[in-house]
């Protein structure tokens, strides 16, 4: 391109291009149009040699060298090239940083921050979930903020020194069995948001952040439930084939919304009642602590699942059909399995009973029966909020896995 008459001057004093001087040159060139000239002056002994090499690399021309390239005072005229302009031709903004996320996130935006100017080219991200309707809930930013503010340290949030020695041995075994079961469930609840996260377009960053905190929450739950189970020094409880089968159907759920629906709305929603129950009947302070802390986190997970599912169902009524099918499909898949580990059920009865006396067992049995009723009522309430008519909500709640999660 022909050089124009306009000439700017920038002086580097004794700064070399090997110690940041190129920043001053680039800054001065940025103010010019391609073809315009910049005179670079300086006293660095190798300025001329450095500048020639730097200009070549960046597509600028050295038009004129006054004096020797090596010497006490150098003055070099540079004609700005157009490579920089060419690089950014075709660049687009990845949505609006301050505004709502776009209805559709382009794969070509890749990992760019929302609102960044994205150079054309580079690998598409290949995210499976790249449409707002399929991942979003308006409450997601607030839930993320709440999650970030509510992170707790398992080492200090629980009084691990509180004695469990006074808990009768058989009650303690019941606690250990329930904790063993909880760990298994929390591991599933960790893997699912992590998997959804890996396939989510990062343009929906609040959802990404929320799922990350959800996975981190479950990691803490796995830790504290494991630690409580080991507190009395005995072996862990049992893991039933039916319970694991039930959880594994969740891992296999391919769709973002149905996975979120089955896990968070139905599974974790049911777990809220379970954790409250264990907390209320905890025979020791540690058991009460770990369930109290977990239930706070789970409430956020349920809130996002419900809000997101309702958001999608509100924009697409037909989607309720897909949700219904996902419940029926999971029910069919689990027809031939035992569902809840019988030892978990018995342990819950014993926890609520507090002893083996017939009267206590009757009370415990009734308490677990009441728990199941509360779980059912909660599921129906959430299903109705999402948009299911009451009769259909009752029907779907009844099809929910006997394994609770």
């Amino acid at each position: 391109m022909p050089a124009t008459e306009h000439t700017d001057v920038t002086d580097l004093a004794d700064l070399g291009l090997d110690e940041g001087g190129h920043l001053l040159v680039a800054r001065a060139l940025a103010r010019l149009a391609p073809g315009e000239r910049l005179t670079v002056t300086g006293r660095h002994p190798a300025l001329g040699v450095h500048l020639a090499a730097w200009c070549r690399e960046h597509g600028h021309q050295v038009a004129d060298e006054r004096g020797a390239l090596v010497g006490p005072a150098v003055s070099v005229m540079v004609v700005k090239g157009d490579a920089g302009e060419r690089r950014w031709r075709g660049a687009v903004r990845a949505g609006d940083a301050a505004g709502a996320p776009e209805a559709r996130a382009e794969q070509t935006w890749g990992l760019a921050a929302r609102g960044a100017l994205v150079e054309a080219g580079g690998p598409p991200i290949g995210a499976q979930w790249s449409e707002r309707e399929h991942v979003w809930a308006d409450v997601a930013p607030r839930l993320y903020a709440a999650a970030a503010a509510s992170q707790w340290d398992p080492a200090t949030a629980v009084d691990w020194a509180a004695p469990v020695g006074a808990v009768p041995e058989e009650i303690e075994r019941a606690v250990v069995q329930v904790m063993t079961y909880l760990v298994e469930n929390e591991q599933a609840a960790l893997i699912i948001p992590a998997r959804l996260l890996s396939q989510l377009h990062p343009h929906y960053r609040e959802v990404m952040q929320l799922l990350a905190t959800q996975a981190a929450d479950e990691a803490r739950h796995v830790e504290v439930f494991t630690r409580r189970a080991l507190l009395s020094g005995g072996p862990l409880g049992t893991s039933s084939a039916g319970g694991r089968a039930s959880l594994q159907t969740l891992l296999a759920e391919p769709d973002f919304t149905t996975a979120s629906f089955l896990l968070s709305v139905l599974g974790e929603g049911t777990f809220l009642d379970l954790l409250h129950f264990i907390h209320d009947h905890a025979p020791d302070l540690v058991t009460a602590d770990v369930t109290r802390l977990a239930v706070r986190d789970e409430a956020r997970h349920v809130a996002f699942g419900v809000a997101h599912t309702a958001h999608l169902a509100a924009s697409d009524k037909a989607y309720l059909g897909a949700l219904r099918q996902s419940v029926e499909r999971r029910h069919s898949a689990l027809l031939d399995t035992a569902g809840l580990n019988a030892e978990v059920f018995d342990s819950l009865v014993l926890l609520a009973a507090g002893s083996w006396s017939p009267e206590a067992i009757r009370r415990g049995w009734q308490a677990v029966h009441d728990l199941q009723s509360r779980m059912d009522a909660g599921r129906r309430r959430r299903l109705a909020y999402i948009g299911f008519p009451d009769d259909e909500a009752a029907e779907l709640s009844a099809l929910h896995t006997r394994n609770f999660m």
Partner: protein
Amino acid sequence: MGVLLGAVAYDPKVVTIWDGFRAWLREHLDFDYVLYSNYERQVADLVDGRIDVAWNSPLAWVRARRLAAARGAALTPVTMRDTDCDLRSVIVVRADSPVTSVGDLAGRVVASGAVDSPQATLLPLSLLRSAGLVPGVDVAVRRFDVGVGLHGDHVGGERDAARALFASDRVDAACMIDSNLLLFGREGVLPAGSVRVLAQTPQYDHCTMTAGPSAGPDVSVLGDLLRGMDYADAELRPLLDLEGLKEWRPPRLTGYEQLERAVDEAGFYSQDGEVTAADYRP
């Protein structure tokens, strides 16, 4: 017809570059490429007509020209990168060195790149000769033979030569291309303010894509296509960045006479293009 191009695999990225260019060029031209482990075999194959075009170093151009001329054949330069224009080689010394002129290097040790590096060995040693110092006689040369056969495309020899300025058994001066002086400064191999440029060659042009005797009319199509590559094209830009250019330019052989002279002084190739350097084994 079509065009078969040879390129030297001095780095794994060469596969990425030419695979990418091949895919793009084949939309317009029957184009393919082969890779060589060293420039000498590529040059021989170019002159023998086994490849139509060679992506040649300047030293490879010199040898190919001599080999072709000996057979009464001619070569045609096709294109070059914008970054191949107006390079210089420099000889640097430590900033506190008592050496202030090339002549002061008499009796001292100079580090160079690989035996076959035009920019870090042949041209700077020619610069010494022009000041009256015969390498190996008046001045000792410590050569850093990294990537022999790659004509200095591998930066390792130059970097080792630069490091030798500050090694325990240190040399008095080191030879390198101007862009590597800047690179080594920014890498910290040569800390800021640690060296002084003692001498520099006149400007010269570097790599040249060269058409051989088997090249047909499609070679000019290839040249047009390469020169038409637009840095604004998001598909091509990563490849152009890897290859180190913003645009392909019409070919130029400015300053090649410096290298022809350096080759003769060093006895590197004979006039008819045979390899005559005794200690060169690509």
